[in-house]
Symmetry: C2
Subunit: 157 residues, 2 copies
DNA sequence: TTAAGTGCGACCGATACGATCGGAGATCAT
DNA sequence: ATGATCTCCGATCGTATCGGTCGCACTTAA
């Protein structure tokens, strides 16, 4: 359950890779082209290309055309969150179909719905989780995220 | 993204409903049959039936056959976690395909994979989140879950 | 014995996803 | 200027999954 798409996986791998060759915080670093990433991680080339395109369209990375072209981070890895990356590929986070309902449309009698509120809270928690973790955190390898819940059973920590 | 299936939604609604007619902690309460729930929440009857069957098979609820039959919680609402419910329906939590890889099978060169560890951490955090919230919490309406992350940008609270 | 109810398996249609192809633009080296 | 790369973009296709439906066997209270 809650599996995220292959495309999203690829996006994370690619960004992690691009970030890893971009040493400093501001250092432009070298450009990385699609084929390099695809071969490194055994990702189907054309599919990865598509993923990178959307990532670029969503302002995560910058593209440079022509020979010696390729991609590089649009901003510092410290300012790219996991949530941003995933939402670029898979669209907005939403546990249920009716999470982002505009005023008009209706779920099945929202009046009778008994799970909307709690689910939205869970959804929000997950979002915080993903949005508090940056690409930089993935690189340095110590996300170290903790959770607190009032429900007695302290499984955490 | 991260949308959970309709069946899972239905499971949550149904369990919430069953729990709501089972007042006390131990009180047996009255049995609830499929049709009652289906009509209350506009859920296709047969599909809901299937969901309830798997829930019963997974020990979330008890089934009683024959006329005046129906379902009731197998244990106190306080001891049924959201994670258990969802996993009963959608299978084990796993952000990537290779989350629960048994020893044998391989992802695409796990050696080169740069996102496995951080993703597993995120996955674990989400699991804690879901497993710390019980059906009882959904009933009383105050989950109140908070998250702490070391990444400076304190979006939370 | 009969009607109400669960249990179970097979089945279908739609949708989403992974994956592929073809070609148009852009850029750089020569 | 020319050609070789390489990114960009749209269209397309097969398949797996999911939502939803049927039909029938089994169990049990009245
Ligand atoms: S599932 Fe849509 S409002 Fe409850
Ligand atoms: S995606 Fe499977 S090991 Fe990284």
């Amino acid at each position: 359950m809650l599996k995220l798409s292959k495309k999203a996986d690829y996006a994370l791998m690619a960004l992690q890779h691009i970030a890893s060759v971009q040493p400093g915080d501001v250092t432009p670093g070298r450009v990385v082209n699609t084929k390099e990433i695809a071969e490194e991680y055994n990702i189907p080339l054309e599919l990865l290309a598509k993923v990178l395109q959307t990532l670029s369209k969503n302002g995560m990375i910058e593209s440079h055309n022509g020979p010696k072209g390729g991609y590089l981070l649009a901003r510092s890895a410290r300012h790219i969150t996991i949530a941003q990356i995933l939402e670029s590929i898979e669209g907005p986070l939403g546990l249920t179909d009716c999470s982002h309902e505009r005023s008009g449309e209706l779920c099945m009698q929202r009046e009778h719905c008994n799970i909307r509120t709690p689910l939205l809270k869970i959804q929000d928690s997950i979002y915080q989780l993903l949005n508090n973790m940056t690409l930089q955190d993935m690189l340095s390898g110590t996300p170290l995220i903790t959770i607190q819940s009032p429900s007695a059973e302290g499984v955490t920590r």
